[in-house]
């Protein structure tokens, strides 16, 4: 078994609050289009934060991807994952096997994570009927919607995948961790191709716990597009988001053998945990572990920090943003003015929890492909602790034709971290 396959990205799929599909999403990133809207259903139940990022037009869109029979047993988390995964599979130039085909795509697997999963199905259907003593009225579709692996399992059936199919979960690091895990699986020669990323549904039940923690922004309900403010001095919590981002990772040898279009190569990846020590906790990152994670990915990539053209940060719009930037700087050992361009996709789409890393990895690859770094909106009033980095934080999209390397990192509750280094191919 080969143990050092090079791993490339040959397909992308994205369903985000501000766009669906690669062309529309790349355009939305370039334009700085916000996908954050006011949602009455949050106001109706007295959320402090009544804005969020929810993909639009999905009711019509889902019928183009899924049959009525399939939709009977799918919640939004699963639907979002399916749309992004089907798109990524097709974008990689692969033809979906018919549902009645007598064959399986043994060479392709999927690691599609979720942070919260099917809690909306539990809250809306399973718990009420169970408490009413109507278990026999639940029907057959509960388990597949509430099992943690429901999103990846459904994708396996839709595409006929025969390699490893699983769902990882590491809170807000989920999507990035999935990419790292799939990268290693291909690198070890255990799969030719892996769909990798994350998905998250939208629901008051998914978001209520965060609102109760007062970590969501409750100060901008009247101006939704201004609510997600990473790196801003007036940042007051993140804005919840949803959707899915899925990448087709593939061994370079497989991609070349079938003449696939190659977007980028993954040079390195690293995941770790801060152990809830040294300043880390269930909800705060251990700075040392963050720096070790970034340094581990960079070391594996075999690059110098100066070669990194842009950082797609975790940067959610909580108190942690200045600490995150400080950790990037310490990890890379660069003076503030020499740092890569720093940006936050969450300023446009909110924090899509388990889907965030997947959507933001798709963002990074599109930026490499098209040679731009999208602007981070709503941080004109930069946080005072970030003043030294001001020249490295674009508020509007900048063209960077020679952009070669992007570092993407995610950090999650549980003190967990993930970092991926993408290089334009």
């Amino acid at each position: 078994m080969t143990t050092s396959e090079r791993v490339v990205v040959t397909g992308l799929g994205v369903l985000a609050p501000n766009a669906h599909g690669l062309q529309a999403f790349a355009g939305a990133l370039r334009e700085g289009k916000s996908g954050i809207r006011f949602h009455q259903h949050l106001a109706d139940v007295n959320f402090g934060c009544q804005v969020g990022g929810i993909p639009e037009g999905v009711e019509a869109l889902q019928k183009q991807y899924l049959t009525d029979e399939e939709l009977l047993a799918m919640n939004p988390n699963m639907i979002y994952a399916a749309i992004a995964a089907i798109d990524a599979y097709a974008d990689a130039g692969l033809k979906r096997l018919p549902a009645d085909a007598d064959e399986v795509d043994w060479d392709t697997g999927a690691i599609i994570g979720t942070g919260i999963g099917g809690i909306d199905t539990i809250a809306e259907k399973l718990a009420p009927k169970t408490d009413q003593g109507k278990v026999n009225r639940l029907g057959s579709t509960m388990v597949e919607q509430i099992m943690s692996s429901g999103n990846s399992a459904r994708v396996a059936g839709l595409l006929g995948l025969g390699n490893q199919v699983t769902t990882n979960s590491s809170a807000c690091n989920t999507g990035t961790e999935a990419v790292v895990d799939a990268f290693f699986r291909i690198r070890e020669g255990r799969a030719k191709r892996m769909l990798a990323g994350g998905s998250e549904g939208h629901s008051k039940y998914i978001w209520a716990g965060f609102d109760a923690m007062k970590v969501l922004n409750r100060t901008r309900n009247a101006t939704p597009a201004e609510a997600s403010r990473p790196m801003s001095g007036s940042a007051a919590g993140f804005v919840p988001g949803s959707g899915a981002g899925v990448l087709m990772l593939e061994s370079l040898s497989s991609a070349r053998a079938r003449g696939a279009r190659i977007y980028a190569e993954i040079l390195g990846g690293y995941v770790n945990c801060g152990g809830h020590r040294m300043g880390g906790s269930m909800t705060a990152p251990n700075p040392t572990s963050v720096q070790r994670c970034i340094q581990g990915a960079v070391a594996m990539a075999g690059i110098k920090p100066e070669q990194i053209g842009a950082i797609n940060g975790h940067l959610t719009a909580t108190f942690a943003d200045p600490h995150e930037v400080a950790n990037w700087q310490k990890a890379l050992g660069l003076a503030p003015e020499k740092m890569p361009l720093i940006h936050s996709t969450k300023s446009l789409i909110g924090h899509a929890l388990g889907a965030a890393g997947g959507i933001e990895c798709v963002t990074s690859v599109l930026e490499l492909q098209h040679g731009f770094v999208h602007g981070s909106i709503n941080c004109e009033d930069l946080h005072p602790q970030l003043t030294a980095f001001a020249s490295r934080i674009p508020h509007r999209t900048v063209d960077v034709p020679d952009l070669k390397i992007i570092a993407k990192a995610s950090f999650g509750f549980g003190d967990v971290n993930g970092c991926v280094i993408f290089q334009k191919f």
Binding site: T67, E69, L72, R137, S140, T141
Partner: protein, 82 residues
């Protein structure tokens, strides 16, 4: 209620669960729900629940287990309502 009327309602209930819609064209009392219509066997539970609601009947687990064809479902409904 006439057999044809019951069968029409049963077909309407089955329709969203059918993976082989072309089999609906020549559907008859002998059509197998699983083999011909390619309904996922797990979904039989949901179909029975919908039949119970649509016809105002209660179907025992034992009776539900005997339903293999469209005709089996129609007969069960007519018998239970009689």
């Amino acid at each position: 209620m006439e057999q044809n009327e019951v069968m029409g309602k049963v077909v309407d209930i089955l329709r969203p669960f059918v993976k082989n819609p072309s089999a609906l064209t020549g559907i008859s009392m002998d059509t197998s729900i699983l083999k011909d219509l390619k309904v996922n066997s797990a979904r039989l539970v949901d179909i029975v629940l919908e039949i119970e609601d649509a016809f105002g009947i209660a179907v025992t687990d034992e009776a539900a287990d005997q339903v293999k064809t469209v005709g089996d479902a129609v007969s069960l409904i007519l018998k239970t309502k009689a």
